[in-house]
Symmetry: C2
Subunit: 450 residues, 2 copies
């Protein structure tokens, strides 16, 4: 293994970066479980035919082939999943007889997309999803719940302020219909490009590709530029003078989500009528999330309501979900130097070794500390104490323990203070027990190590 | 998505099974961190050329292809990793400049092998690995450490008793050389089949394929049948009358591991001289682990010492590691009904909803409970209370909370006891806070649901 090849788009962290990734995943899991979501994992592969339904044919899916396959390959037609929603829909159909509905699940796993890597976009990345799925029906209040849970999670992370932008497919579709669009999906696809190509190009495309009149196109653009922190968007939409039943329904739903979420988490969401979401299986509320000051890397948490992603012909399973882009978020925190990790190792204590014959005594100290939940390691070599202290210092281990038949002692190598100690009772201060992640302002950040 | 296809070899658990899998992973992580191992994750893919070194050409690797790839595919030649050791070796080489040695890491991830599925063998499965890697040198005591840590982990899991079987490559190779073998790897490969094909076939193959004399073959078979709970194996090996320097070194090392581990964890390991391990990169101690009563499913934790898996030409990185087969273990626990899960949902409390207009009051109760770390959910529908209690009962949620302007109350739906309660102070008993996993004897087990 002489040559090592760095693979673009497949991020890997050093141990201190992994501390940050683990913190994000642990926090997600804790918040999801506090809200009653059960954890599941689905296999990494799905039949291609299922993944490529719903207009997803342009997804860059990785297809599998067995290296040793001869003749008919039973694994032909399998691909790595590109999100956690399609596998979850399949899981619900496969196991419906064993699940209780509405079924609330979270899922924290890697997904793969063969896309061109760029900041915030990877070929392999971790997502943390929650979804609620009902059998045949799903109450609207879950569309409020998704944003409340994601907001609670984001508030617990050591990250810049984030705001969830909410829109509603019924509102958009009804409006597009109301201005005379025959292909509302085409309008949506064009509007989705607004951030990238700008207003002028969008106006042109709405006429050329979506078949709108110039006036209709202008109104769709006006709609996309409405953004309010509360339900006042409704009056702005109505002022555009478009009438449609579905539009009215969408306005009511969006107002209920924005007001419902902000009542419980003030300022957590805004109504933003340019939010489109590329995937065409959404049918109601849609979510995207901006990390303030880092909008250019794209949404860090997205999702929406889908009425018919999963159906076995007899029954349908409507759902709503939202997904945190764990890798995208962690890559911003590490790449922009927004966090500081106290140490890359779990050990709070290095137990020194006096000489190799006395290693069992040091192992016993370590066992005693571990039995009380204190992470520690025994020095790998009975070097001079100065060298063992340097070993601890290089790893950021705050305490060095010196076994001594005349009485043990422990040294805080930051302050130099050394005190008598008993492995059966001593404990480090709470803040030193585990590695910690501290937010830092970008100005004072150190060079991030990817 | 009308038809759903079950994929053999890609196991998935229902939420209660996932509680078991999560417990195993959490326990592994906690024990590994207590022993000072840092967590890392490596990407799921590696260049094929690196994975297929070291005689691994017969591995059933899954190769990737981009569905939309045209012309030269930059991802051609990538495969899914089939273990976590080869990726770790590559990680060490790639990041050596940023790591401190000896470097102790754990890694809990999925791996993929395109093998024929059978009990205990999967195409996708999770492993939990620890390794210690040094730069140029690695002290022998880490070969004791691996078995101590794995034994500590196994002791914390709700599983049948397990015993780690240890052997030593130097011992085996020295012995084979001592009986005249010119290709010791060939002898090892034949001995590795002993459990599957039996003594007679092994004797024949040792002569026909490994070129031994019938007498030499018999001695190798005698060696493989030595198994002792302590270092008394040494006398039994010497009684076979084979002399070799490497053999002596191997005997000393194996005795040191068996005595060293058992001094700290009595009965944790046995010397078992038939343990070969298929992978040919091992150079010293090798480990396998039997789950007593379930030996037929194969080793649940395996590993060994390797001197030269990772090298960049200038420096080498010798290491030793051991890997817990998480999916194999969980599949035994679930498939044989060896554990009972208290409930499949995290919620300890269902907060009832009096009517839909009063939902915010129920949400407030839930928020208060969650702020004190109590997982709960709000009833999805303002049904009659009897129906809401049934909802909780179906999920195994032990408590139902009734908000009431005149004073809230909470009901233990198992006993029927209902008491006045305050969301700012009430807490469930500790044993009801989280789902629990209890070992059960196979006789009283329920039908397992995969």
């Amino acid at each position: 293994m002489a040559r090592v090849q760095k693979l673009s788009g497949f991020p890997e962290w050093l141990p201190d970066g992994q501390v940050v990734q683990q913190l994000v995943e642990d926090t997600a899991r804790r918040v999801f479980e506090l809200h009653g979501f059960s954890g599941i994992e689905t296999r990494a592969v799905e039949p291609l035919e299922q993944m490529l339904r719903k207009g997803e044919i342009d997804k860059e899916v990785y297809v599998l082939r067995r290296l040793q396959a001869e003749g008919e390959d039973p694994d032909a037609g399998l691909g790595l999943h590109f999100d956690l929603t399609v596998p979850f829909a399949r899981y619900v159909l496969e196991h419906a007889g064993h699940l209780d509905f509405p079924f609330k699940r979270y899922q924290i796993q890697k997904v793969w997309r063969g896309e061109r890597p760029q900041e915030g976009r990877f070929r392999e990345f971790t997502q943390a999803d929650i979804d609620v799925v009902g059998r045949d029906v799903l109450s609207f209040h879950h569309e409020v719940e998704m944003a409340v849970v994601m907001s609670a999670l984001l508030a617990e992370l050591p990250i810049p302020a984030a705001v969830i932008q909410v829109n509603n497919r019924k509102l958009a579709e009804g409006f597009y219909r109301g201005v005379g669009a025959s292909d509302t999906a085409a309008v949506l696809r064009v509007i989705d490009k607004l951030d990238k190509v700008g207003a002028e190009v969008v106006l042109r495309l709405l006429v050329e590709e979506a078949g709108l009149t110039p006036e209709g196109a202008q109104r769709c653009l006006d709609l996309a530029q409405i953004r309010t922190p509360d339900s006042s968007f409704a009056a702005e939409v109505r002022a555009l003078g478009v009438a449609d039943e579905l539009l009215d329904e969408g306005i009511d739903e969006l107002a209920a989500v924005v007001d419902g979420v902000n009542a419980r988490r003030p300022g957590a969401v805004v109504a933003d009528l340019r939010i489109a979401r590329g995937l065409d299986y959404y049918t109601g509320t849609v979510y995207e999330t901006q990390l303030l000051g880092y909008e250019s890397v794209g949404s860090i948490a997205s999702g929406g309501r889908y009425d018919s992603l999963a159906s076995d012909g007899r029954q349908t399973f409507p759902g709503v979900g939202i997904s945190l882009g764990v890798t995208r978020l962690v890559s911003i925190l590490l790449g922009r130097g927004l966090v500081e990790v106290s140490r890359p190792v779990p050990s709070a204590v290095l137990v020194a070794v006096v000489d190799e014959d006395a290693r069992p005594a040091s192992e016993q100290v370590a066992a005693d500390l571990r039995s009380r939940g204190i992470a520690c390691e025994v020095a790998p070599k009975a070097d001079k104490f100065g060298k063992q202290i340097k070993y601890a210092d290089r790893r950021g281990i705050p305490f060095v323990w010196f076994p001594d038949p005349a009485g043990d002692s422990v040294k805080d190598i930051r302050s130099g203070e050394q005190v008598p100690s008993d492995a059966a009772s001593w404990a480090p201060p709470t803040e030193d027990r585990h590695p910690t992640v501290r937010p830092v302002s970008p100005d004072t950040s150190q060079e991030a190590r990817p």
